[in-house]
């Protein structure tokens, strides 16, 4: 069988910029295929952070991390890989000539990168980063001398190199002969782009493509080729807890109790989706199994509302629910159903659908002055295994999407971020429970499920990371 494969993706990459590889449309093409990272998170097993370009690492007394790099690695342009490239890659991320997305993971940190020798490099970070090896799984390495401005033709150490990109039509990756690791089964991958899920599914069916990593639930009808996977996207209703009546915890609880989450499963939301108790998926460190999903209890919800009303809370104020069109599958139907359920217990809900740019205005700070009570339906993605990528932004009083300023939350977030090991897990668990049970910060809904269609000639099972990264080396070819 041919070892060339075709992959059809929903959206073309604007750029193939290594430091933007955390963006899913770019990452799916180049992450670990063209551009590699020092470390890699194991998403299939339970190994945690694994070596990639770094062979091992350790933390010295003052919190400095020392990484020992792999030897004999070359870039696709023939240059040898060494510590200078790692340093350069970091310098490039922090350069003001570009806006590298990976920079956001290092917000508020001061980096001091020191080359010890050609294969050893030290990272001194202030404040100390207990999860630095995990963070480095997000940083792609480019050869020294790569322009600081965004580039369109990445050079990396990965098993593939970019051999052709016809914008609008296709991107072709070819396997490298001089790759340092195991030779992948796929020798050539062509990426095609179709926005319509039905067309993507059809292309695998007709043999025009071999892999469609995301198709819609309704298209996934063939057991042999269609697989579902937990895709690390979590749907929730972000509550702006500063504005009455949403600043009353009883009202927030009532919101939670009024929604019949189970009814969505298998109908508007795929059967395999999981009800969420936290904004992070269960595979994440510190995920708290003791937190229970709010039951569907409209009577209780009504009671809570009545109580609040008796205390003078203006529960009759219309609440605006803002959702983004095409944010996730069935968003309109789901939101309409939620609206109906909330109205059943006595809420007044104005449902508004907006396009991306406007959604952003509601979702992120600074919030508009003089706004009414607002709820934003949104989807959050954290496949990185650690809640720190979530908790600060969504709940800390300084977080850009946070609707609260709760001292206890702030304290837990800062302590957990600084902690390591079990301590870290414990603190995150505590925070998750507090946010869910006591603060009732938001209405958590579902951990979503994605579907992919894989041609029968391929041996591939999608994982939670498939949304953001698609390692060609994981794809086998049958017979």
């Amino acid at each position: 069988a041919s070892s060339d494969i075709k992959i059809v993706l929903p959206e073309e990459a604007d750029l193939l910029e290594p430091c933007m590889a955390t963006r899913s449309n770019i990452g799916r093409v180049i992450m670990e295929n063209v551009s590699e990272t020092l470390t890699e998170l194991d998403v299939r097993g339970k190994q945690g952070v694994m070596p990639r370009l770094a062979e091992k690492w350790e933390q010295t007394g003052d919190g400095t991390w020392r990484f020992h790099l792999r030897q004999g690695v070359t870039f696709s342009d023939g240059k040898a890989f060494g510590a200078k490239d790692v340093k350069y890659s970091f310098d490039r991320i922090f350069s003001d000539k570009n806006i590298c997305e990976s920079r956001r993971y290092f917000g508020g940190m001061k980096f001091d990168v020191k080359i010890v020798d050609d294969t050893t490099i030290d990272f001194k970070v202030d404040p100390v980063q207990p999860i630095l090896p995990l963070l480095l799984s997000l940083v792609t390495i480019v050869p020294e001398g790569t322009p600081l401005e965004f580039i369109r033709e990445p050079v990396g150490t990965g098993p593939y190199k970019l051999s052709n990109w016809t914008p609008g039509q296709q991107i072709v990756l070819d396997a490298r002969d001089d790759y340092w690791g195991k030779k992948p089964a796929v020798t050539k991958a062509t990426y095609l782009f179709r926005s319509d899920p039905a067309v993507r599914a059809a292309m695998v069916q007709t043999g025009e493509a071999d892999l469609a990593p995301s198709i819609s639930q309704v298209e996934a009808t063939n057991e042999k080729t269609d697989f579902s996977y937990l895709d690390s996207e979590t749907v929730y209703l972000r509550i702006d807890g500063n504005i009455a009546p949403l600043n009353d915890v009883r009202v927030r609880k009532a919101l939670n109790l009024a929604i019949d989450r189970e009814a969505f499963i298998g109908t508007l939301v795929p059967q395999d989706a999981v009800l969420a108790t936290a904004l992070v998926p269960p595979t994440t460190l510190g995920w708290n199994p003791d937190v229970k999903v709010f039951p569907y209890d409209p009577d209780e919800a009504k009671k809570l509302l009545d109580e609040a009303k008796a205390d003078g809370v203006a529960v009759d104020t219309p609440i605006t629910v803002v959702a983004r069109t095409a944010n996730f599958p069935n968003v309109t139907e789901i939101m309409e159903a939620i609206q109906a359920q909330l109205q059943d217990v006595g809420f007044k809900i104005d449902l508004r659908f907006v396009e991306v740019a406007e959604h952003e205005v509601y979702y992120s700070k600074p919030f508009k002055e003089g706004r009414g009570p607002q709820i934003v339906a949104a989807m959050h993605d954290n496949s990185k295994g650690d809640p720190s990528f979530t908790m600060f932004f969504k709940y800390d009083s300084k977080g850009t999407q946070s609707g609260y300023s709760d001292p206890k939350v702030d304290d837990l977030v800062s302590r957990a971020s600084a902690a390591t090991g079990n301590e870290r897990a414990k603190l995150w668990s505590e925070l998750i429970a507090y946010v869910h049970d006591d603060l009732v910060a938001d209405v958590l809904l579902f951990h979503m499920v994605g579907y992919s269609r894989v041609s029968e000639r391929l041996d591939f099972k999608p994982s939670i990371a498939t949304n953001s990264m698609l390692q060609l080396s994981e794809i086998g070819i049958k017979n």
């Binding site: 069109t325 449902l351 659908f353």
Partner: protein, 311 residues
């Protein structure tokens, strides 16, 4: 040689001319297609007026467990006969409730654009070269402004509402009417009867509206009735992109765009509203084709002859 032929008996008893409405009704009766179309449109209009008050509750009652019910299961309640949507809401009451918004947006947009476009076109064809040049270049600008950009801008700045949507859609349709009208005016104004009217002292306004417009009108009507479909579908596309009408409001276009993802396994979701659009357009056009003939004295016999077989 000469032969004389007896002179004929005076004849040709000419009947009194029937009134305008009687005549139109007779001509409508003569064209059965147009008659059906007219009846259908009356039904649509009635539904647009009373539909929402009549069926709103039925149309918004959700039932997640009965979602995407297939049509033609006559063992179910009558309102489920056309199937149910993704939230288990019965389709045909929804279509009826949606009529009001749909017709309002479509009729509003078409009327606004047709009226403004035609007026400007008449002016552009008749006025001084400079005025005409200005109008035409503005039309060029509108024409090359992608309608979606207009939509994003207007709806972003003014917010999304039925009225704004009507505005957006009408702005983008103005150039067709404008250009068509102007092109026709350029030709018609050289005709002799226009000069004759001028000799009588008819004002430009009268010449434009009484002499030129009636000649252009049928073409504009054809365009306008076709634009009905265009506007409904454009509105659907806007909804899909998140800048048009959004739930819980409903229109046929929105229903289509919501049904889009189920096209391959629950076709009825977008089929019925699509059919509603098709039937409405078809009716409008049949009626406009009929009207074109009914209003044209040279063609009118086609309908009159059929009406009174051996009149």
């Amino acid at each position: 040689m000469t032969m004389a032929v007896p002179s004929p008996a005076p004849e040709n008893a000419i009947a009194a001319e029937p009134g305008f409405f009687v005549r139109m009704a007779r001509m409508l009766w003569a064209d059965k297609f147009a008659l059906c179309a007219a009846i259908f449109l009356v039904f649509v209009i009635v539904m647009a007026i009373i539909g929402p008050t009549l069926l709103d509750d039925l149309a918004t009652k959700q039932n997640l467990r009965g979602r995407n019910l297939a049509p033609f299961d006559f063992s179910r309640d009558w309102f489920m006969w056309l199937g149910a949507d993704a939230l288990g809401r019965p389709l045909w009451p929804r279509i009826i409730v949606a009529t009001q918004n749909t017709i309002m947006v479509a009729a509003g947009a078409v009327l606004i654009s047709a009226v403004i476009g035609t007026l400007l076109g008449l002016i552009a064809g008749f006025a001084s070269e400079r005025t005409s040049q200005v109008i035409m270049r503005v039309a060029d600008v509108i024409m090359s402004f992608p309608s979606l950009l207009v939509a994003v801008i207007v709806l972003y700045i003014l917010g999304s509402s039925i009225l704004n949507l009507m505005l957006v859609l009408s702005i983008t349709r103005i150039p067709v009417y404008l250009r068509t009208t102007r092109a026709e005016v350029l030709e018609i104004k050289s005709r002799m009867f226009v000069q004759a009217a001028r000799v009588m002292g008819a004002s430009s306004k009268r010449i434009l509206f009484r002499h030129i417009l009636p000649v252009v009108f049928p073409t504009l009507m054809t365009l306008a009735t076709l634009d009905f479909a265009y506007v409904m579908l454009a509105e659907s596309a806007l909804s899909f992109l998140g800048i048009g009408i959004q739930p819980p409001e409903i229109t046929w276009g929105l229903m289509i765009s919501q049904g889009r993802q189920y096209l391959t396994n629950a076709w009825w979701l977008s089929f019925w509203p699509g059919l509603a659009i098709i039937l409405t357009t078809l009716s409008l056009n049949l009626l406009s084709n009929w009207l074109r003939i009914a209003l044209d004295p040279v063609q009118r016999w086609r309908l009159e002859m059929k009406g009174s077989k051996n009149g």
